[in-house]
Subunit: 107 residues, 5 copies
């Protein structure tokens, strides 16, 4: 799995029937900053993920890929290889809190 | 999943029997532009995807990879790891519409 | 899936029993040239693929990866993650033929 | 599989129900140093892995990805594509011990 | 699949129970040299693979990844995504032998 920030959404009306009603979000994978490991930074890549937890734009989420993306009640029969399975509250690296969803809302 | 633009097609007469009649398209994955996130840009990579939604050259589509590419009625028994499962109408990033399939047709 | 050129072959006598008799080919993935998109160019990477269609060195083929490589009658029970499932006749990009297997034989 | 060092952890309260109670760790993949192959070095990438062996921050572990991450008693029904399946005691490359978990604790 | 050289081994005593007794080897993927395609060269990457054919350090082997790594009698129930399924005798590229396991033993 990896962490990602939701940056947007996608609308597709002409699609595989089983995908009707599914929320499709644009996510940018994040990684821990390489030098000092004190923050989450974007990777510049773009994936489209199906949402299973009611996540919204700007939030940092947990993403699962591949066949495992179908191992939730909502995604079981779907042709999806990327699903949001959790909203991140906080990330701790080397005994330091490097991300807090509440701190972000204030700034 | 990821977004891609259909740039071409492939013809193969000598192939696995189950693939006879399948439309094989050349697609270039797209990503959101890194600096300002205001457009979709090509990645320079090339994949071959099977089409399940009647997509055509020039269109921006949603691509699913891996075993999940077999989770549509058309692709279930096929040896395919990459399928087009939707045609994209629009993409919104940071509250801005960065792609609109209609805008493209006019320009 | 992706396009690749068959550049060679591999011999292994000491191997998993189910693989005895399988033809193992060296393939180099190809991509559409980035600037003008008028030719197929090598990527410099090397994969080993099992052949299911009687392909030979020098030919451009269609490759499937992952669990889907087992979705052909020949590869169903095999420990393979990369199979050749078609020989490419021609590739068209932006309304231009950028590859033709017959043109290649003449040059 | 690959080797990785556990660098941190992630807290997510709003998540897929089956994931409640699962320990989610931040891991950085390691590789053997390229020139002399005498040490393990970080790759700067970040993954989130579920723990099945009671591993802790700072430890070097063995990571399995994809559908195989669900092949442990704990992870079988989970939407996970990355699991810690062993804690590494030592790594030997070219007849030399390049990592020893005990040596690390002393330094 | 891809070719790799076995460069070392890994010891892990605290691990998933099904993995007890499995030999874990460090492998470096190889590719055909890009310019003249006359030799196998290292890629600098490091994977951990489970051995199913009795391979040893220094040997060049055939590696299968993903769910297909579980398609051998030994690995069927294991949480592994990377297995050695053959020891390479020779590699031929563009009608030239670019690797021979016997030539290596003499040098």
């Amino acid at each position: 799995m990896f962490l990602a920030r939701i940056t947007g959404s996608v609308i597709s009306t002409q699609k595989v029937e089983s995908m009707v009603g599914q929320k499709l979000l644009v996510v940018e994978p994040l990684r821990v900053s390489e030098k000092d490991q004190t923050e989450l930074v974007g990777t510049g890549r773009s994936f489209i993920a199906v949402d299973t937890v009611g996540a919204g734009e700007g939030e940092v989420v947990l993403i699962v890929q591949g066949s495992s993306a179908r191992f939730t009640p909502e995604t079981k029969p779907l042709p999806v290889d990327c699903a949001i399975i959790g909203i991140i509250d906080s990330v701790h690296v080397k005994a330091k809190k490097i991300f807090d969803s509440k701190g972000e809302e204030r700034s």
